[in-house]
């Protein structure tokens, strides 16, 4: 089934991110406040009001630190919406892109013609106790002293360096490009440009993963509004169409009990999305890749087929800045703009929309017509990331 050009993003809302609450006595905001703020920014951007969303679609990313099973319903109440179609984005950091596909399908069916997708989290200003939930992490990882996702991604990174000879110079190039873009983004949080040496000399967090390899948790809220093409034409901003969508959750390349941990599900999610959109690699003007770690951005560039696996020369020869051959992370990614839990996945969509509207300011990709967005979630027991979603956005039908 194709949902090409059947829905368009017509509004975006992006609160500044912060880390308030990391020190005692700091003023702080709740998740509810970031949600409301992000929604109002998106409504204003689209020229819509709350009453437009009654009986329509609402998608809510489910944060990792707040295991309230009825969170999407509670968000409806916080925002004052009675949705006719309520979805929770349960694919972790991929949730925002997954919901883009799910809501576009619902719009394509005619069941709704408008949807708000929203997420927020305040990990520094709100502290949920939370226990260790049942599953592989509790039974087969934590008893060995694993320290969250850092431990597992460190093994992925070391394996890639061993197998292909990848160095910190190759990886650092991604980090430097992202930070450069954040320095040009008013919504960036880490905005001081860095050099390859800064990257190489940053503190080891989980050998070989360094501080500048890692995403930066933050408080914040993010939202976007989707509409049918007919409805989109009546609104104030240039519609940004969903042209292609693909998703792979729980991918395995090789036996499930011992797969190739260096291949990501974006390999197939990206292929499906590009086929739906009818675009080839050379048609894509920029990439906004989910960036929980630098190595994860690197692997996605390979697995999306922009180069062969282990093609070090490609990384040596390609300019990844907004002026280059393959612009990536044009807003700085969540490594530099902050990750409000799974709502971080909304960042890449919002930056893609800005670029395609021509609102990229000092970091605008020239003549941007098509962008590729990815979302990723979950680091499972013995593999690479467990939820992968890819969207192709474009500013023309």
């Amino acid at each position: 089934m194709s949902i090409k050009n059947q829905a368009a993003i017509v509004g975006i809302g992006d609160t500044p991110t912060d880390r308030l609450g990391s020190k005692p006595g700091e003023p702080r905001k709740s998740s509810a406040e970031y949600l409301s703020w992000a929604m109002h920014l998106a409504l204003e951007d689209a020229g819509l009001s709350l009453k437009d969303f009654q009986g329509q679609g609402l998608g809510v990313t489910i944060p990792t630190a707040y295991p309230q099973p009825f969170w999407p319903e509670e968000v409806s109440e916080i925002l004052g919406i009675t949705p006719g179609f309520l979805l929770g984005g349960a694919t972790g950091g991929a949730g925002a892109v997954s919901l883009l596909g799910g809501m576009s399908a619902a719009i394509n069916s005619g069941f709704i013609d408008l949807a708000l997708v929203i997420g927020a989290a305040a990990p520094f200003s709100e502290h949920w106790g939370g226990g260790i939930q049942p599953g592989d992490m509790r039974d087969w990882e934590i008893p060995y002293g694993t320290m969250g996702p850092n431990s597992k991604i460190a093994m992925v990174m070391r394996r890639h360096m061993h197998q292909y000879g990848t160095t910190l110079d190759h990886l650092g190039k991604i980090a430097v490009a992202g930070r450069y873009h954040a320095s040009l983004n008013p919504l960036g949080y880490l905005r001081k440009p860095i050099t390859i040496d800064d990257y190489k000399n940053s503190r080891l967090v989980a050998d070989p993963v360094r501080l500048l390899d890692c995403v930066m948790p933050a408080n914040g809220g993010k939202a976007y509004i989707l509409a049918s093409p007919e409805r989109a034409k009546t609104l104030r901003k240039k519609p940004i169409y969903l042209k292609g969508f693909g998703e792979r959750s729980n991918p395995s390349y090789g036996p499930r009990a011992g797969s190739d941990a260096l291949i990501m599900g974006v390999k197939d999610a990206g292929r499906v999305a590009m086929e739906m959109a009818g675009v080839k690699h050379q048609d894509i003007n920029f990439l906004e890749l989910y960036d929980d770690y630098i190595i994860v951005v690197y692997l996605q560039i390979e697995d999306l087929g922009f180069c062969d696996k282990g093609d070090l020369k490609f990384f040596e020869n390609t300019d990844f800045t907004f002026k280059g051959q393959l612009p990536i992370q044009t807003g700085g990614g969540i490594i530099n703009c902050g990750q409000p839990s799974t709502a971080g996945g909304v960042h890449h969509i919002l930056e893609g929309v800005r670029q395609l509207r021509g609102e990229g300011g000092e970091r605008q990709v020239p003549n941007a017509k098509i962008g590729l967005i990815s979302g990723l979630g979950v680091l499972p027991y013995g593999k690479n990331l467990g939820c992968c979603a890819v969207a192709i956005l474009g500013n023309e039908v």
Binding site: P134, R138, I142, G145, M147, G148, S151, R159
Partner: protein, 144 residues
């Protein structure tokens, strides 16, 4: 105010779920057992109620050689996060590894019995069980 003394600093233990009980029973007898599908021959790991390659419910616990090699690893030099992590502080530095058993399945485990600097990718290792409680013996690996 919570004091350190009130925080539970014992190491977290796995829950013995019904599907994993045969694994832990065997581990207590120093045997490494993994499920294998009797229809498609796939290894099923971690323990599951049915084969997650073909769906067959005909899966049997099978004893492994206990030999494998290091697919990748990291060295833990600081604890972060949950209070329970503090229990690992005395062990620092220690190695978390993915070990690929000779038969195929990949385990998250610790490499023990050598300095952390000696651990290498591709290194041959063999299982050694460490007692974590009366019922739980964790399979760890040492150079072989």
């Amino acid at each position: 105010m919570t004091t350190m003394a009130e925080i539970d600093v014992s190491k977290p233990l796995p829950a013995i779920t019904t599907e994993a009980k045969p694994f832990w029973d065997a581990a207590a007898e120093q045997k490494l057992m993994i499920q294998r599908c009797q229809e498609c021959n796939a290894w099923v790991w971690t323990p599951r109620p049915a084969c997650n390659e073909c769906g067959s419910e005909k899966i049997e616990w099978t004893q492994m050689s206990g030999r494998g090699e290091v697919y990748s690893f990291t060295v833990i030099r600081q604890v972060v996060g949950r209070a329970a992590s503090k229990a690992f502080e005395p062990d620092i530095p220690y190695v978390i590894a993915w070990v690929d058993l000779d038969e195929g399945p990949r385990l998250i485990t610790n490499i023990i019995g050598c300095p952390v600097e000696d651990v290498k990718l591709g290194m041959k290792v063999a299982v050694q069980f460490e007692k974590a409680s009366e019922k739980i013996w964790l399979p760890k690996f040492k150079p072989s």
